[in-house]
């Protein structure tokens, strides 16, 4: 049997520029903005009503979160069990999601059942009643789950890191068990009335589309009245200077410690956003990254470590995140800072940079697979104040970025004194 030449890698070909498919845009009779993207061969649809009603929109950030979750707990026509049944009877999935910026009511349905499942979405949007008893059950269950989460170093670190990084802004409001107890049902109802008007939503629909779907959207949502607009992004105060950049929350019995390191950056619309993405990918954004190679693959200190830039509507932050054996926590910290210092002190080799560029371009291509992913890519530009040429710019910027540019960014943004460090566990 002839052996192929296994010592030489097969020739690779340049990665295609992604040619993003964007949704068709139109409005329903009442002005509700619709974004409709048709793709895929399966008879499936994702219908998402998105509101600018994230957790940053209320002083007690639990209120927006409970408001979203309580939408499926009862309306004038249906109690919680009926809502669940009316969704499940047709094999649909109803999801109520929230992050700092947005909350969403999302329905996944087979095309053939949409006429039956969509009215449930309309009902919870318009007629939610936040029943007292359901509300008390949810509150006490969530308190219990929160208490369980407090036993996880990763959870405690993630929560506290946000609070410290975004101190004194609506993105950094802290909460604890007392805030769960302090919530009033009326606050939810007011938040719902103020934030969930049908005209305050953007409607994203993706999957196998046809005219009948558009007609169904019009007949279900097009006549709903309300006043309210999709809210613009919150302006954020400039980052505070940390009184103590190193923070430590001890947990006596921890056999692993959670580490978070990071800082606030700039909005996605900043021209340096792309190059920063390349820089953080080199540091910790893929399996072959420097942090993974050093801290996992060379030292074996962790199961995983990552770095990246997380965008909000009007800001973003840089982070490094890992959980390491408590016995090697300080050694891991030393290595993390060593890798950051190397980015400042030394130019990235062309070889490594080319690899990361190809990796990012390949990932971009992959991130457009299927109708739902394509819609997510559109939302990622549309909702974050950047234009439709974002992915072309991204591709061009990745191809163009030089080792010098990356070093300049590292020197500007990754100075040790500017980085917040949080350890939860033992060190």
């Amino acid at each position: 049997m002839i052996q192929p030449d296994r010592l030489t890698a097969p020739a690779t070909h340049p990665i295609d520029t992604v040619n993003p498919q964007f949704p068709e845009q139109f409005s329903l009779s009442n002005g509700m903005e619709v974004y409709s993207l048709s793709a895929g061969s399966q008879e499936v649809l994702k219908v998402e009503l998105l509101f600018a009603a994230g957790t940053s929109r209320y002083s007690n950030s639990l209120i927006p979160s409970f408001t979203a979750s309580m939408l499926q707990e009862g309306t004038h026509q249906r109690n919680a069990a009926q809502i669940a049944n009316d969704v499940d009877d047709y094999g649909a999935f109803l999801e109520l999601d929230i992050d700092k910026d947005f909350s969403g009511i999302t329905l996944y349905s087979l095309n053939k059942h949409l006429a039956k499942t969509l009215p449930v979405v309309e009902d919870i949007l318009m007629n939610s009643t936040f029943p007292e008893e359901e509300w008390e059950i949810m509150r006490s269950n969530r308190i219990q789950k929160y208490t369980v989460n407090l036993g996880k170093v990763g959870f405690v670190a993630g929560k506290r890191f946000q609070e410290l990084l975004y101190a004194e802004t609506p993105y950094g409001t802290s909460f604890d068990v007392n805030d769960y107890r302090a919530m009033q049902r009326n606050e939810l109802i007011h938040f719902y009335q103020n934030q969930y008007a049908p005209t305050a939503a953007k409607l994203f629909v993706s999957g196998k589309m046809d005219d009948s779907i558009h007609q169904l959207l019009e007949s279900t949502f097009g006549q709903l009245k309300g006043d309210g607009k999709f809210l613009p992004a919150l302006a954020l105060a400039t980052p505070v200077t940390f009184s103590e950049r190193k923070q430590f929350i001890p947990k006596e019995d921890a056999i692993q410690s959670a580490i978070r390191i990071g800082r606030r950056m700039f909005p996605k619309s900043n021209p340096d956003y792309f190059a920063m993405k390349v820089l953080t990918t080199i540091l910790g954004g893929y399996f072959g990254s420097r942090l993974m190679t050093n801290i996992r693959e060379d030292k074996g200190y962790t199961y995983g470590i990552g770095a990246g830039v997380m965008p909000y509507r009007s800001d973003s932050y840089f982070y490094i995140s890992t959980e390491v054996g408590s016995d090697v926590c300080s050694a891991a910290l030393d290595e993390i800072y060593k890798e950051i210092r190397t980015l400042r002190d030394e130019l990235v080799s062309n070889e490594e940079l080319d690899l990361v560029k190809n990796y990012l371009l390949g990932s971009l291509l992959k991130s457009f697979e299927g109708p739902f992913e394509r819609m997510e890519r559109f939302k990622n530009l549309h909702l974050y104040g950047v234009g439709n040429d974002y992915y072309q710019q991204y591709t061009a910027a990745i191809r163009a970025v030089s080792p010098h540019k990356l070093q300049e960014l590292a020197k500007t943004w990754l100075q040790e004194d500017d980085l917040l460090e949080l350890v939860v566990g033992k060190k």
Partner: protein, 412 residues
């Protein structure tokens, strides 16, 4: 409807091709017919540790990840009690890079001492992160040996204890590779923007020269029927009590499987289920209570898991579960209830077909289980289940003498 073509190389490697021109990507999924069930009881966690070592360089290629990333690709793998599965996606024009990488590590690994040493530590950290440093993390480490006394399903994929991973030697690693990582013990699915003829040519070029080896035989180990209730109670530093009840049930390919799967949905899938409405909402005994099936290739487990509402006694909560089971056995289920869980199962299946990689994995699982057509017949099989079948499933499974119960309680 998922279309596919198939061929087998002379060395026994089975190859399946699924053409999907709608994506610019290609994926390669290679399933090795080896899982934690093939480990020796004195050396558990080995299949999973080995999965890590598969990324530590092969005989001719020092790094697996680097060339793949250069080609714009990504990869990952998982191990469970039944199988070890590796997958990669990359831009379709660079498909050959995937063939080069996967065939070289099927041919032979580099077997570097450094890689073994490091991956032992990485896996030990994984053990700590997922099973020891989390509230409730060790539940399955306790449940498996309670439910299985003889079958290798009695240990978890991560292994029984950290010591087994610490003790792994290079000699063990080599023996494991030579025994299981053979073309005749693998199934490769190539899917996406690919053509059958190209895949055939590349498979012949890169995989056909790999020696076939002798496909390992799996000794059938049958778990004796459980004849009396098993119970265990542990106390841990957790804020709330938990209860698990696990019952022996059918294997994935048994004819009773689908009825048992749907029974678990009726009882405990989602917010329209019986458990949720009766015991989380109405009686408020639990904050969470669900049921599911393990879906394992050999006789599996029907699992009921719940977290108790603080203040509720475990005996009272368990009696709640029992009362729902009795109600189901005495009063039966309605056609409507069955049709609901069938519709949910159907749409879960259809939504799963949106991803090419998912389709590739399902083709590989089907082939290994001896019926690749199941990717297309699964929905019909679910739809064929009757109310009588589900009731039969309930009667045969949900018996105390078939059940292992774990009380996982707050330390005093």
């Amino acid at each position: 409807m998922i279309s596919y073509t198939r061929f087998t190389l002379d060395n026994g490697l089975k190859v399946i091709v699924h053409e999907d021109p709608s994506t610019p990507l290609a994926c390669i999924n290679i399933l090795y017919d080896v899982g934690a069930r093939d480990e020796s009881p004195e050396q558990t966690g080995f299949a999973h540790l080995f999965e890590h070592l598969m990324f530590g360089g092969s005989i001719n290629i020092p790094s697996y990840d680097t060339p793949l990333q250069e080609a714009g690709g990504e990869n990952n793998a998982f191990t469970n009690n039944d199988i070890t599965n590796y997958y990669l996606t990359l831009p379709a024009q660079n498909l050959e890079t995937g063939f080069w990488l996967e065939s070289d590590r099927m041919l032979s690994l580099a077997f570097s001492e450094k890689s073994l040493e490091v991956q032992r530590s990485v896996v030990i950290e994984e053990f700590k992160q997922r099973y020891l440093n989390q509230p409730y993390g060790d539940e399955w480490l306790l449940l498996r040996p309670l439910a299985y006394h003889v079958h290798p399903y009695r240990w978890a994929t991560i292994g029984k204890e950290i010591k087994h991973i610490e003790d792994a030697t290079m000699e063990d690693v080599k023996a494991f590779f030579h025994r299981f990582y053979l073309p005749s013990n693998a199934i490769m699915v190539v899917a996406g923007n690919v053509k059958h003829d190209d895949v055939k040519r590349l498979a012949e070029k890169w995989f056909a020269p790999i020696p076939s080896g002798k496909r390992p035989e799996r000794k059938t180990i049958v778990e004796p029927e459980q004849t009396e209730p098993r119970r265990s109670t542990v106390h841990r530093d957790v804020p709330s009590d938990a209860i698990h009840k696990v019952y022996h049930m059918a294997a994935r390919m048994d004819k009773e499987y689908h009825a048992q799967d749907l029974l678990s949905d009726v009882l405990g899938r989602g917010q329209s289920s019986r458990f949720y409405n009766a015991l989380v909402k109405d009686r408020q005994l639990f904050t969470d209570l669900s049921a599911h099936v393990s879906g394992s290739f050999e006789k599996g487990l029907f699992v009921i898991s719940g977290r108790l509402r603080n203040g509720v006694k475990p005996e009272e909560a368990e009696a709640g579960i029992q009362s729902e089971i009795s109600r189901l056995l005495n009063e039966g289920i309605s056609e409507q209830e069955l049709s609901k869980v069938k519709n949910k199962a159907e749409s879960t299946h259809v939504f799963g077909e949106v991803s090419v990689l998912n389709k590739a994995m399902n083709l590989a699982f089907g082939e290994l289980l001896g019926d690749i057509e199941m990717v297309n017949t699964e929905i019909a099989r679910l739809q064929a289940v009757t109310v009588t079948d589900v009731m039969q499933a309930a009667k045969s499974i949900l018996r105390e003498e078939n059940c292992s119960t774990l009380y996982y309680l707050r330390a005093e």
